[in-house]
Symmetry: C2
Subunit: 332 residues, 2 copies
């Protein structure tokens, strides 16, 4: 299997991306194609023992930066960027998957332009793994489509359930639709119509889920529009961060509490570990005609390696075909 | 000033509602009209020393329960409920404000039917006080309107800013519009159009705010549709609860951490206090033709008392008139 890694993506490229690639080339024996500025990538590679590892470097002179104001425009104009060159390798059949911890908007636009959609898919959706009380769930769309139609939400559910089952290992994943109330009939007109489509689908649809149900892990696949999904993931990050900041602030004001916090350090660390996005590595852009896994820009080498492993599993489970088959009936 | 209290609203009525009413009648010298089942209310009143306090009881035989499946229907059919009787006292000019910690959907529907809208208001909006890193902000709409138009969002901003300035004491409150990106032009079509209206208004509009910006306190008034707003408040509650549960779970597994948590108890308590909804008592339903303050169903007597104080201030600041004047130009 050949997996393309956008070696220039993320806050700490190419050092951590290359390190992640080296790790997976070693552990899985996969070919990891490092796409990026050859000199920089080779310099990063030189720090590792890569004897007997399959880590070809493909040169790409440009970089879609993390802070591009218009990522879609940047991807269109930077045809020699690591993103575009990497995605084209997948499109040409020279690689099986594309992994990036770079600019999400850039990957999204780049994948749409260079891979296209799976036949029948109305709109590809960005997903992410969201930690819950008991484990994690998949949320989509988290930002590719601010305006959607009921049929798009239905397709997001089909794609998300296929991925959750085949790649994340959920058995008969429970699909929930984000709404402002649990009862059927609650929600915007969009949600009410999507509810009907989902209720009459073959999916394991458990109905509407409210905001409070998401972290409780009531559903394995959380379906929503890209506007709401984006608010959900950023708000969660914000609330968790605020809570931890406020707790730290209050602890710092109390010498006894400072001592207590030192004793409870292990517990705090464990919480951090349970909520750590790096564990999950990355999540797919679903609906494009190819395996595309996107990770967090702040990813370290562990997270990058994990993202490549996720891609490896998605290819092995033939997720593109799973979606193609899953979507076909909904086209009728 | 005469404030109607829905004595039968909330999880612990009428004991805590009556106790809250007694406290405010004493501290502010206001008339608190207790509406509910006379025998139950009188029994609760008998537990307090109410000599020289102005606490008239108005009988209402029915109750809109907390768990009504169709609150709006319940309010329509239960014409002798504490909610309807109380709201009619306000409509008739026999009281200046209505306070309830009862079924929110019931109060919403009841207020719409019995008070009507302020002239020019397209849709009343439910608001809530949301704790932030540095204090709190007002969010609206949190559930009255799942489907909105740009002009509604504009009016929510006008009403929210008026309330934040006159009742919450924010000077020239910063108004933010919830979106899936900070830059102007980000967002659904709805949000993009609302952005234009707000950018050309007299409000102190700071632009789009993302999910992560809300707990950071970037804006004093957070404007959104009732669908997204509902997800925001319930998700925040869910994430905070999940985090605290997970932390407790990890602490319980570690004897040292248990000891540490005991030492840090004061800090944990302070965090809880800073995020405690009871501090704020309640928030208004804005746009109806009367002062209506809604508090949390779980409110204790302190929260009920605070909600009545909020109503007192809203009446004193003439919030209905503030909104009437604020809305008038946007009608042109």
């Amino acid at each position: 299997m050949k997996i393309v890694l956008d070696a220039m993506g993320g806050d700490h490229a190419p050092e951590v991306t290359v390190e992640g690639g080296v790790r997976v080339a070693r552990s899985l024996g996969a070919t990891v194609i490092l796409v990026g500025r050859e000199d920089a990538v080779q310099a990063a590679l030189a720090k590792h023992d890569t004897a007997e590892l399959d880590l070809p470097v493909v040169h790409a002179a440009e970089v879609v930066e993390m802070d591009e104001h218009h990522p879609a425009r940047a991807v269109r104009s930077k045809k020699d960027s690591s993103m575009v060159v990497g995605l084209r390798l997948v499109h040409a059949g020279e690689a099986d998957a594309f992994v990036s911890v770079g600019n999400t908007g850039g990957v999204l636009a780049g994948a749409l332009f260079n891979l296209g959609r799976i036949k029948g898919v109305k709109r590809p959706a960005l997903s992410t793994i969201f930690p819950t009380r008991k484990g994690h769930c998949l949320i989509l769309d988290i930002g590719a489509n601010a305006d959607v139609k009921p049929a798009y939400l239905h397709q997001f559910a089909v794609m998300g359930a296929g991925y959750a089952e085949q790649v994340l290992g959920f058995e008969n994943p429970r699909v929930g639709l984000v709404s402002n109330g649990e009862e059927p009939g609650k929600g915007s007109r969009l949600v009410q119509e999507a509810f009907e489509l989902l209720a009459h689908s073959d999916l394991n649809f458990i109905g509407n889920v409210e905001g409070k149900d998401i972290p409780r892990g009531l559903a394995d696949v959380i379906v929503t529009d890209g506007f709401t999904g984006n608010v959900i993931i950023k708000l969660s990050e914000g609330v968790a961060g605020m809570l931890m900041d406020v707790l730290e602030e209050e602890i710092r004001q109390r010498p006894l509490a400072m001592a207590g916090a030192a004793l409870a350090k292990g517990a705090f660390g464990a919480v951090k570990g349970r909520l750590d996005y790096r564990k999950y590595g990355g999540a797919p852009l679903l609906g494009v005609d190819g395996v595309v896994i996107i990770g967090h820009g702040r990813s370290d080498a562990t997270a990058v390696a994990k993202a490549i492993q996720v891609a490896h599993r998605a290819v092995k489970q033939n997720i593109v075909e799973v979606i193609r088959v899953g979507i076909a009936p909904s086209e009728l």
